[in-house]
Symmetry: C5
């Protein structure tokens, strides 16, 4: 392959169906369990919905700012239709660029820059290399960039984690309100059951919100951030290697050190 | 823009309405849930208020000193009417100063120092640069300064976190007192309900205090501290760069590495 | 032994019976406790099974991707029939190679490479040494490789940890659904007991799944990962030492520093 | 001030009333809540006291040694009558010494050594400087000293934290004993209430011990340790600076970097 | 003392009675509370014992291997009859050796090596010094050795911690089994109490096992590991100092930096 004219492959986009399937499957099971009990209506109570959903929203807003919550929402949307490059593909692309630079000189990368715009970090690194920035400097700047990206993702995940923390707390507060109201008014024993049921609803809502929405979403964000960081790490290695004008074979060996066995590449015979 | 006479922009001040809106919204929902139950009076019990609010106050005081608790209160007040510079603005201001220093020499910054007094860290850094301190030394001193600021913020947040830990504990203690009193006196069954209701009130107060006041406040303090650290980090990078007499274009590249994509600046053409 | 012609010993494979014995023993005790109560049927409830097992599966899938869950399953299978080299054996093998390289030159290792293929990291390191890579470089590349392996293991363990976190949560959600249904329908007191029993089943399933399957499996994965990292650490030390053409006696001393007292080797006289 | 003959100010001693006031206030509220219920006697049960107080004592002793528990007790006593130097005062004292060393030579500090004996770390550092130890060495030794002090404090705090962990556990064990005894003997319904009340007492004792005594004490120890470390950090900076014969103005700048804005000093004009 | 002929003092062995006294005291209180209730038999239930003790054993075995559990048991035995050198004694011994090496040359330590065999790390370090290994190398190897020892101790502690985690979980599982069996069979109300009592027994066993056996044992192991690491750290400092042929007075100063004030030594006038 190393003898063909170099051609940069495109990143494939993949919809992350795991999030959607998991969400639908999980809620489907809960809803069917509710319906199988006969009276689905008893699981809907507007004041309980208000105190758990609204309360969690307002308290999470206290912790952050509205802007950060909207940004998290946007990140969640991106999570559903996630497109992450395959690490192997990224590694091969980086090796193609490194080989081109080795054969035709670093300036020949100029023509590639436009094609790389879909991968901002790689584009930035290669632009720096073309501008003659030394490899060490390229590595320092790209790593800083990568770190700030990871920190931004962690911030979005931390909004969801806080929400996952406050939802059961609001559920508990709602249940305590219901219990105090019920206990202060025990004259008619026939109302105890339904009152208790309503009081428990907020705990139920809180548990569902936290464990079936916020926690998994936060975990997914962190996972996607890790996957992106892996690909970006490959780009940083590649740009630094080209900037240092190293042998692409050494780069291949380094890349294979971070790739999982199943993803390892063999670019040079 | 780089050709205009240099003019330092002022930091915009912004009230952080998220804290107030969140607080009012959250408490509004809880209070309306209480009123919708008909007997809001049953949610007020002076001894319960005393043991949870007073107890949390006294135990938190045991952990710290009165002085630290007052300082935390002051920090909370500052949190409500928070004014943090936008990172982009801070970056542009730093670049303006760097360009001025590049064109007219470091001593020309002397005249700017007064204007920078609203941003203590930037002022300190630039004063050091004007005094001829080398860039490395400027960076070391400013980073130490930044670290101590972050530590002070964490201390204030830790006061709130301790309070958030002790409030539910005092609620539990109050509820246990109520339960023991009630159980020792079961002769009249009609009093069981109301006694239980009163016993649960301290748990309710504790949960509300911890989850709707102390925890979100602590999270907000940490978030604001992070935002301030970001802006201060930009000032440190700028002052160190000017102190090392580097090319402002390199500074711009470094600053863009830490700014989020939406906040990135393009100061030089 | 140091005077014999060098012969590379093979790694012994050992089935890890602890996992199987523990699993069977634990479940045996639980099942016998259930049977001793007379009515084992009351412990099986299909909707409860669905909501806990299915729910945990779907929510864990939301956090990761189907591919990662399958990979974790494969890793679990490997855990049951685990074959890890004994650290002492690995150390002796490394010393044998180091002595061979010392006596007959690094190139003589060429003939050994094929035999080492069952130990990928050692093979990679020795190939690099034969290719003339300097010892420092060998160490850097192998350590990167080792770190990525550890990270991959931690990812598999984190899938199991998330499942161990969500299983009791789904159990709680199922129990809350059961309680709300029961409390809304208290007319016939004779049904309260059985309804409560069914409601508690999901909590029971969640506790069993989390504490008797997912948590111990995650701990086992981490333990095996640590054992493998220990052996790999020995390979890295060996390859780096051979690459630096150090005295094998120094290598023996270093290896003994990381081996536990009972596993220490005395290869030279 | 810099022109006056140098005079070393003494550290002011301050009793830490926050601990005592907090302790008395917290217990006062709990006791008054108990008395307001009418039957304070029902809150005292000797076997319950034995199992929680004694049990916590014995189990904590299992974790440590009697010697360490006594040392922790001594440290707690010191916490109540705590005397920590004000960081500003410490900084000024250090600057006074630095200026003296600058003007009259390092050997002139010989006469000061006796006065510094109340501050062991400063004394040690200045003795080393007078003995001609280079600044880097002074810094290394003092930092090691400071670290070991912090570790010792953390050990004392960890004794209290363990106690705070075991007290509620012993409370739970006591309550379970009470419940099992009560449930096995339900023939006379009139005894159920009082038996439950007694059973709950151990939970109550455990919660009070952990949250109103051990936890706040541990937090206070850590806070005092932090305050002492701050002052010691100033001494280390000072001794190292004098040892390196640096300009005291640079020392002032460094000290102000770690002091909080309100505590900053302006020693030179 | 520095003028006497050098004589190496022996380490004193001390039985750690705190563990035994704590264990007996704690269990004594629990047992006496049980007997004071009149019917100690109701606290013994063989199936409950099986599910908690057996279940915890099997699940912990799943996490580790039988070999590791046996090693932990051995370590626990050692904990009971623990003999740790006093740090002061260790420091004095190290200074004696350092002085001997200073006066009569490093080779004179040869004769001491046999006596040092009871302290493996000191023996290893001094052997290396006698063999002419440079001080830096001695420090690196000994620190690696010390780190692996600490890691092995942490592994044993982690076995106990896992057991402390699983014991209450098995208790909960047992209680849920008991509750489900009881609730499915409510026809005879007189059996409810005793059935509940039996169901709670597993929770009781789990709480006792975790909080009165496994947790304190794990804490003790960690504490002993820390004490041993302190003494070993003194040996490392000593061996490195002798290997670097430094002045023993400098070593004394360094040793005093890590010793607690009460343990500080004054070996040289």
């Amino acid at each position: 392959m190393a003898d063909n004219p170099i051609q940069i492959t495109k990143a494939k986009s993949a919809t992350d169906i795991a999030t959607i399937v998991g969400l639908i499957g999980g809620f489907g099971l809960v809803v069917s369990a509710i319906f199988s009990g006969g009276s689905p209506k008893s699981f809907i109570n507007i004041p309980s919905v208000m105190i758990v959903f609204g309360g969690t929203f307002f308290i999470t807003m206290m912790c952050f700012s509205l802007q950060e919550m909207l940004r998290t929402l946007k990140t969640i949307m991106k999570t559903v239709s996630y497109s992450s490059r395959d690490p192997s593909e990224a590694a091969i692309q980086v090796l193609q660029i490194a080989e081109l630079a080795r054969r035709q000189g670093v300036l020949s990368l100029q023509t590639l820059l436009k094609e790389l715009e879909s991968e901002p970090l790689l584009h930035k690194g290669m632009s720096m290399v073309v501008d003659g920035t030394p490899g060490e400097e390229v590595e320092v700047v790209l790593k800083k960039d990568m770190m700030s990206t990871i920190q931004r993702h962690q911030k979005s995940a931390s909004v969801l984690k806080k929400a996952a923390e406050f939802a059961p707390a609001m559920g508990l507060i709602g249940t305590l309100i219901g219990l105090v109201q019920m206990l202060g008014n025990l004259s008619d024993p026939s109302t105890i059951g339904p009152s208790m049921a309503v009081a428990l609803l907020t705990t139920f809502y809180g548990a569902v919100l936290a464990n079936m929405v916020f926690s998994p979403m936060a975990a997914k964000l962190e996972r996607n951030s890790g996957a992106e960081a892996m690909v970006n790490g490959i780009y940083v290695m590649g740009a630094a290697s080209v900037g240092r004008q190293e042998n692409p074979r050494r780069l291949e060996m380094l890349l294979n050190s971070v790739l999982s066995p199943a993803k390892r590449i063999q670019y040079f015979d």
